[in-house]
């Protein structure tokens, strides 16, 4: 890690909730008066690679969207590096689910990546040549340099996911929130995402991913947040990603062999 932090210091910071990349307290979210997240507390460790895991409809994506302010919070508080999330937009990078946008949109891969720079550019400032060059460099990092000028609808699903990843890299954020980046991607894309996660870890950035594949959790991530409407468990993978916790999160819906395989990695 680039920014090594003493364990004691980290513990104090986590308790105070000030320096933590993300500190969520008592978060409650409801759609049409139906609660989808109840009183969730979570503190992300600095430089961590954190998986959010839980069954379908557990509120994993909602957690990320509520943190970003994309869905209204009924209650609770979200602090990013000790400040309200609204004032910390530049510190956060976001990778939405691939299905959330219209890939027929008339734009190229490099244009989409350049959108990651819009926050830094500010209102009404145009995208210039050097911004597009920066976007091309980010596409290169995910192995997509050859596809920069392709209309985004002509890319494969995995390539589209890498475009989103490059866009998040362009944001040059301290905290990354990714919604199922590994969902339905090819092997090349999976490797590219893992490389980026490692690179971000080395640079001391914090990454939080909604993740659906339990088998790969111990391999890709070092921390985990188990959700099912409420927080089931959270902590280092070794401590929190246990059979008992998974059983609680999935409510017995997980067949035992699958469960054992997941916990053993």
């Amino acid at each position: 890690m680039l920014r090594a932090v003493e364990p004691l210091e980290q513990a104090i910071a986590a308790r105070a909730g000030t320096a933590a990349p993300l500190a969520v307290r008592d978060l409650t979210v409801a759609y049409h008066r139906k609660p989808v997240l109840w009183n969730v507390d979570f503190t992300a460790p600095a430089g961590g690679r954190i998986a959010i895991v839980g069954p379908n409809g557990a509120g994993k994506s909602t957690f990320i969207k509520a943190v970003l302010g994309l869905v209204p919070r009924v209650g609770g508080e979200v602090l990013v590096f000790g400040k309200p999330v609204e004032s910390q937009r530049r510190a956060i990078g976001y990778v939405p689910q691939r299905e959330s946008v219209d890939w027929d949109f008339p734009t190229s891969a490099v244009d989409v990546v350049a959108m990651g720079l819009y926050g830094r550019l500010g209102w009404c400032r145009p995208v210039r040549r050097r911004h597009l060059e920066e976007a091309r460099a980010q596409l290169d990092r995910v192995g997509m340099a050859d596809f920069a000028d392709r209309q985004i609808g002509q890319l494969s699903g995995g390539q589209q996911q890498r475009v989103f990843l490059a866009r998040a890299l362009a944001q040059d954020a301290q905290l990354y929130l990714m919604d199922e980046p590994f969902a339905g991607v090819d092997a090349a894309t999976e490797r590219a995402i893992i490389d980026v996660l490692r690179e971000l870890e080395r640079a001391g950035r914090t990454v939080i991913c909604v993740h659906h594949d339990l088998q790969t959790v111990p391999e890709y991530f070092d921390h985990v947040l188990l959700l099912n409407l409420r927080r089931i468990a959270a902590g280092p993978v070794k401590e929190a990603f246990t059979e008992a916790n998974l059983q609680r999160a999935y409510g017995g819906r997980l067949a035992p062999p699958e469960l054992v395989a997941a916990v053993r990695g």
């Binding site: 994309l70 949109f105 008339p106 734009t107 959108m115 819009y118 926050g119």
Partner: protein
């Protein structure tokens, strides 16, 4: 029948200007509406503004632009609030709520029009539905050289000045907020997470749509110009900037050719009457769309059939 140059400059040129200038802002804003899958918002607002325009006219007692424009904007805001209220209280989906609001408000506008102001000049149901493209006269120019005289330009009809101002304002706003319009159309969640409030950009876009719908004299022209040029341009390019430029080109071509087909072609082929300009402009817009669907280089029916044949070895 011979058309003199003086007639052309007095009657036909201003009508063509009205047709093209009204189309430009519609084409630009329509590009974003079509990409947002909200193409019918232009249609809805063009109906919704009618009671506002009539109310503005009845209260001020004049056909000055400002009170009618204020009425149109007020009606748009009321419509948006009503749609939201019906959606929530009536538990209807947005499309149904919009359908209810815009038909009821349009009907109210027609009733107000017939009862309140039907007998007076320049504001009647005919105008509201079909537009009054051919009712604009420019008293002054008699030949091309006279267009160089500033005094002639001072006599330019007020409606053309206003249309030009709205067109310029729309071009300026789209250039200034191009990046914001693009990202909120493509990925509103990312935009909001970056601090570009998608809801503000949406509100601004809808406001401009209301202004353009009000200015574009007549519902038929508005509906056609919001959708046809944008949809035609989409068939021809994969770049948003080019789509915007092409949509303006098609709006201008529709305005000019539509008028030619309405005013001149019937006379050339010996018909007794000319046709309605707004209707013909809309029809030409539809023909462009049809041609693009058939013959566009990549997305056209013909091109796709040819490329399919190329892929399958005989």
């Amino acid at each position: 029948m011979e058309i003199t140059l003086a007639d052309f400059l007095t009657i036909d040129l201003p009508a063509m200007l009205v047709g093209t200038l009204a189309g430009i802002p519609c084409a630009l804003l329509g590009t974003f509406l079509v990409l947002r899958r909200q193409a019918l918002i232009g249609d809805a607002l063009s109906h919704v503004v009618l009671p506002g325009i009539v109310a503005g006219f009845m209260i001020s007692g004049s056909i000055a632009t400002l009170p009618m424009m204020a009425g149109a904007l007020a009606a748009s805001v009321i419509a948006v609030l009503l749609i939201e209220a019906i959606r929530r209280l009536g538990r209807l989906e947005t499309g149904a709520a919009m359908g209810v609001v815009f038909t009821v408000m349009f009907a109210a506008g027609v009733v107000m029009l017939e009862q309140g102001v039907g007998t007076r000049v320049d504001l009647d149901a005919q105008h509201a539905l079909y537009g009054a493209v051919e009712l604009t006269y420019w008293r002054g120019p008699t030949d091309w050289a006279s267009l160089l005289d500033p005094a002639i330009w001072a006599a330019l009809p007020h409606s053309i000045t206003v249309l030009a101002a709205v067109a310029l304002l729309t071009v300026a706003l789209v250039l200034l907020f191009y990046k914001e319009l693009k990202i909120t159309t493509f990925d509103p969640a990312l935009a909001t997470s970056l601090g570009i409030r998608a809801s503000w950009v949406n509100a601004g876009l809808i406001l401009m749509v209301a202004v353009a719908a009000f200015e574009a004299v007549g519902s038929i022209l508005v509906i056609a110009m919001f959708i046809c040029p944008a949809a035609t341009a989409r068939m021809l390019t994969d770049r948003l900037s080019r789509q915007l430029v092409l949509s303006v080109v098609f709006a201008i071509l529709s305005g000019i050719l539509g008028y030619v087909f309405a005013a001149f072609v019937p006379l050339w082929i010996g018909a007794a009457n000319s046709l309605t300009a707004a209707g013909m402009i809309a029809a030409v817009g539809g023909v462009f769309q049809l041609l693009a669907m058939l013959f566009a280089p990549r997305y056209g029916v013909v091109a796709r059939a040819l490329s399919r044949r190329g892929e399958i070895p005989a």
